[in-house]
Chain length 202, copies 4
DNA sequence: AATGAATGAGTGTTCATTCAT
DNA sequence: TATGAATGAACACTCATTCAT
């Protein structure tokens, strides 16, 4: 006496989404080896066995999670930004404001960033995937930086190094958001200073 | 006839030191729950049982490790620096150069920093100790920052926030040192830019 | 769909009972430190892990076992007997016959008695609980003995000492039952002789 | 520069004796699997390694201990007693007094008895040796009992069963001596009552 | 001969995964 | 489909035995 097959499929998809969403936060807070399936299932509010109806293993769940994190419209947005007919300085300003706002409002965003970092700690096997993803983000950021260097608004130095520096700081504050109860977040000004030559005109 | 008691004591102390030193690196690279006692013992080059002659449990070993990390002359050095009759700018310059050099040369330093960060990930119970340690480091850094703000060489804003920002970036590059095979390190200039108002005079 | 919750609870309770029952015999035969969890689980016919779903640790299992042993209707039965309007001699006779029959038929009874004794060997920490339990048994036995001394059918001497003597012999034959393959059990007459003055009237 | 070889040998023998003596008590109180070599060595007051200069293994030490317990002049004494031209009643009286006095004064005797019993609990493999030993003791006791039955002073029944009963009670009070802090010991009268028909002549 | 630090096989306990319901 | 009880491989820890001194 099945419900309409489509509806059924729909429900499955919803549960799967819920698991991914909740697991992301849980893994982010506890790390891979620090996460027990029993605790995780309990946190999500489902039975342990149910997890295995949706994912082959703990490893598999983490892998998919990680893929979801990196499969994003973020790259597109950044690409679009980099192509806009604006000064590098204002692009950097816009980017910084957007990113800090997301960090502030969206815990899932922080979790996503944290997971990416965690891979460095625990699961170096995924590092290559991570790198692939980052490289796109870095690529477009580096483009903006190079534009800024031509416009003399951005400091000298390897554009990739600077892009990495910039995003590393973003990662850092994602961690802080997730793990520190009371922290003072940096402002867009602080974040921009990593790249911008000076602020004396302000 | 027994071994000479003094020599015996000496050997014990040496072994203990060796364990702490090696375990620090291993824990830093693998995290607490990612570290198996058998692997760790193997890495150090001793039997599993030997570990338990020196430390009551895995937990206990980690705890002591963590205490060692935070019991340091570093605080003193920073305090001394903060009291020197120098401009804030040159203090910051000196500090930045010293720290980056240490990061480059001393893997143990990177490990130490990483462990402190790891506690945030896995073992929030130690967070308070960590905070205590950091707060002293932060305090003296904040003093230098305030001096710089009076001298108009350092950007405006909460001195604690800025100190936190500065050291967070240092932590970040410790992580990179330990986990990333190929990374471009930042320069002292990059690090200083976090605090300094502008560099147009350079 | 979940199993019906009531049935679930029921199963849990049954398994728990089974573990307690089987473990009692196994511990009785092998002692606490002589019992390996793997062997015990195998003997019961469950997985090692299953034991830990029902009991926190080996220690905990033993403690509960011990509590079960001492939580008994036996005390009540003895109390009732002591209050009946009968001669001490016939009370002692009745008690002796009952006890010897139980020893003969019920291996669990022997195991129970043995565990109590074992505590003396290995786990003196529980001795006080044990003593509490025994003291009630002893108390009512002593009452019967005192009645017998007034009736001149029971030998002189401290009633507690005699009660202890009587039950000690019972314990002894419980041990024999459990550990000796071929042994000649004593008769009720033999057991009674510990207390009764003479049998010349028989 | 050795001491005279004989003296050397002598010292070895003394140490060996000391180990056997102390180990007997320790094993008796803690059981075989309940005894750790480290604890035992500490109790004796020697290094762990030293034990292995005198005994091949823990097992070996226990085995020798057990042999020492059973290799005794006790059998001879009992044999002599059984052959004396005395009434069975007075033989039983003499035996009972001697045994109870030994129990009272000599902790080692209690330990010896306890070890024998322990074998039943933990190390059934030695049971046969134990039985051999006991059988001699039992044999001579049974002879006395049979004499008593002819003389009408001892109760009817299998003489071996009665001998076993008698010695079991002795064992019991050895256990009590070793493990119970405060206990009331039985008198020779109590012990004799196990065998003797009546005491109305007293 | 004596020691106690070192070892690793063995034991207690946990946890990812399976499976009966 | 959903559950959680059951499992055993894997892990933390212990302890009889060895060995350098």
């Amino acid at each position: 006496m099945p419900k309409s097959p489509e509806r059924c499929q729909e429900i499955r998809e919803e549960t799967r989404k819920k698991i991914l969403r909740d697991a992301m936060l849980y893994f982010a807070k506890n790390g891979f080896s620090g996460t027990k399936i029993s605790d995780l299932a309990n946190y999500i509010g489902i039975g342990q066995g149910t997890l295995y109806l949706y994912f082959k293993s703990k490893e598999d769940l983490f892998r998919e999670l990680f893929a979801v994190c990196n499969n994003d419209r973020e790259i597109k947005e950044l690409k679009t930004l980099s192509l806009l007919p604006l000064s590098a300085k204002s692009k950097i300003h816009r980017l910084s404001k957007t990113v800090l706002k997301k960090l502030e409002k969206d815990e899932a965003y922080a979790a996503k960033v944290t997971l990416t970092t965690q891979v460095l700690f625990e699961k170096n096997d995924y590092a290559s995937e991570s790198t692939t993803y980052q490289s796109e983000i870095y690529l477009y950021t580096a483009k903006i930086i190079e534009q800024g260097q031509r416009e003399k608004s951005v400091v000298d130095g390897s554009s990739m190094k600077l892009a990495d520096f910039y995003w590393s700081v973003v990662y850092l504050y994602a961690l802080k958001k997730l793990f520190t109860t009371k922290y003072e977040t940096i402002t867009a000004d602080d974040l921009e200073r990593i790249l911008l030559k000076d602020e004396h005109k302000k």
